[in-house]
Symmetry: C2
Subunit: 353 residues, 2 copies
């Protein structure tokens, strides 16, 4: 690719003159300007952003770290969209990294983005690390050591509460269970995806806390951990509803009594409803169902499926604002003070006993 030197040779002027013309900084005569621009055009000259960045000691970018495969979740896709909207409005680029569960990989990516002189780094923690507490300590240390603001999503940094945004998964997941208990249900099953994610573990904790709060013993016969079917290594066709369908069949096979099932996500509930209906078990007359996330498609089933709306949009917006507040050295209200909450959405799949 043509360099400034090539342009200066073709235009017959000094390299510094070319720099002045192309940057628009400093005086040049109209005639010189014209000659330089013509030479640059003829040589297909493109400015070198690498050189500019080095001179300014910034990459003018925001770094974003996501769990690999995560974008298939509509929620994370919206997070990415929101960061892009804000970053582009501020004239900044976004450099993304995907991380899997290998220990240390998240920290390695954070350091790598710092090395890139990103102005801020956002890290969405998928929480399937066994060693997440170590990572938390390391992020705390990185924030202390470098001037680059790191913002953690879906995790709590005890030393830096202004650098993180978290969900109260347990409290949110307890809500539908509480509702059912208050409406006469006693035998409430819980179906979840693989328990290797902290998010899922927290939701299960919420289920157990609600039971305990109402003086009901946890019965492991009413708890099912579903597992993914890997379909020809094809992420496009991952079918979470199939997991819910099979988990529900397993639950039925145990021969234990239940009048309701709560789920760690909506697609599990969709699959379970089909399993029940195929076996002639009426929803909600015999079994009530509560999804989690409130994906719009729940409205279109018969009966329509109840769910829990998470404050995802508010959370995403707050997290992105937090990141930019660090950049502009401005303050946001404390996350704690905002009381983002979940809400129950009652539809046909739930009935009081």
């Amino acid at each position: 690719m043509a360099t400034i030197l090539d342009v200066s040779r073709r235009a017959g002027v000094a390299k510094s003159t070319v720099s002045r013309v192309l940057s628009g900084r400093g005086y040049t005569s109209d005639k010189t300007r014209e000659v330089v621009l013509k030479a640059a055009q003829e040589l297909n000259y493109r400015p070198n952003v690498l050189a500019r960045n080095l001179a300014l000691q910034t990459s003018n970018t925001i770094g974003l770290i996501l769990p690999s495969g995560a974008l298939v979740s509509r929620y994370l896709a919206s997070l990415v969209d929101e960061i892009f909207k804000k970053a582009q409005a501020a004239g900044k680029d976004v450099i993304m990294k995907h991380v899997d569960d290998r220990p240390g990989l998240a920290m390695e990516s954070i350091y790598n983005l710092i090395d890139h002189r990103c102005e801020a780094v956002m890290y969405y923690n998928s929480s399937s690390f066994v060693n997440f507490d170590d990572t938390v300590a390391e992020i705390d240390a990185a924030i202390d050591s470098f001037s680059v603001p790191v913002v953690l999503l879906n995790g709590y940094l005890p030393k830096h509460p202004k650098h993180c945004v978290w969900y109260e998964h347990a409290r949110f997941a307890a809500k539908p269970v509480e509702y059912l208990l208050e409406h006469g249900h006693r035998n409430i099953a819980y179906i979840t995806g693989p328990l290797n994610q902290r998010t899922v573990q927290e939701r299960v904790k919420g289920y157990r806390q609600a039971l305990e709060h109402h003086g009901i013993d946890y019965n492991e016969q009413l708890f099912v951990e579903g597992s993914y079917k890997v379909l020809e290594d094809d992420t496009l066709s991952q079918d979470v509803s199939l997991m819910g369908y099979e988990a529900c069949i397993e639950l039925l096979g145990r021969g234990v009594n239940f009048s309701a099932i709560c789920f760690a996500n909506d697609y599990l509930a969709i699959g379970a409803q089909k399993a029940l209906q195929e076996r002639g078990i009426d929803v909600p007359d015999e079994v009530s169902l509560f999804g989690f996330d409130d994906t719009p498609v729940l409205n279109y089933f018969s009966p329509s499926i109840s769910s829990v709306v998470l404050p995802s949009t508010q959370l995403i917006n707050y997290a992105v604002e937090l990141c930019f507040a660090h950049l502009s050295h401005s303050e946001l209200p404390d996350y704690d003070s905002l009381n983002f909450d979940s809400e129950l959405v009652l539809r046909g799949s739930v009935k009081a006993l």
Copy 2:
């Protein structure tokens, strides 16, 4: 942030010695190495990737341009995942840009990524540009002018067929219509989303071609263009099924006869099935339904909804491989020769007449 000069001062050695130690290139004694590493650690020194990139005249990144809001589509999310997988395996970063429909913005982003010295640029064309033909000509010109490979997805570059991957939307969309015609249906309606996207326009073209091929006149009374409800500016709650539901009610209100409806996507079909069932119209006895995309959730409706599987995974993989083949100056088989095709998935919502 600490610089190499800071480290050299603290360690009491020359700057060039620090460079040798930190890059691992060239000889230094074990003792010097130890002193330098200790100083670097004490100062929280991080290497400057900007300087390295400028020296090597590459950013070691792949540029990726997507339509804004696009990630909410599972298909594009998978594309992004696949690019990340390949890029990280090759030790490269991905810098992403979102573009909306403003004229010229796509080209501006392509040039900007070239200025960043990206090694390749992938651009997914959402095709809602009125001036897409101009953009095609400009991309062709950019490929001729710069050594940076540009790969266009979902669009055809007449001068550079080895730089693009496209869907045969019209042919794929004709297939379910052909099937219904071959199974006795004559009055086949079509419900689509907003027609400002070329992809949607192509699908409608396929519907009309299939009718024509069977000697049936296009009846505009059987065609409905749905529109999005914008729900409080909240991308998380966009409900395409609601669009299908309302479009179906509009179709029914016209009082025209039809025995089947084809759709430009699955969620439209989900909404329409609900509208029909609420009015006591039996699917498939009175109306057959054909979605488009084959999202797994179709299996869980009653009746389950037929659809068309697109060769999306193959296409995405090919596009990403194409990008990396340009980087390694290797050759791939011609895209045309691979004959990626769509397939019908017949479920309960379709019945022969």
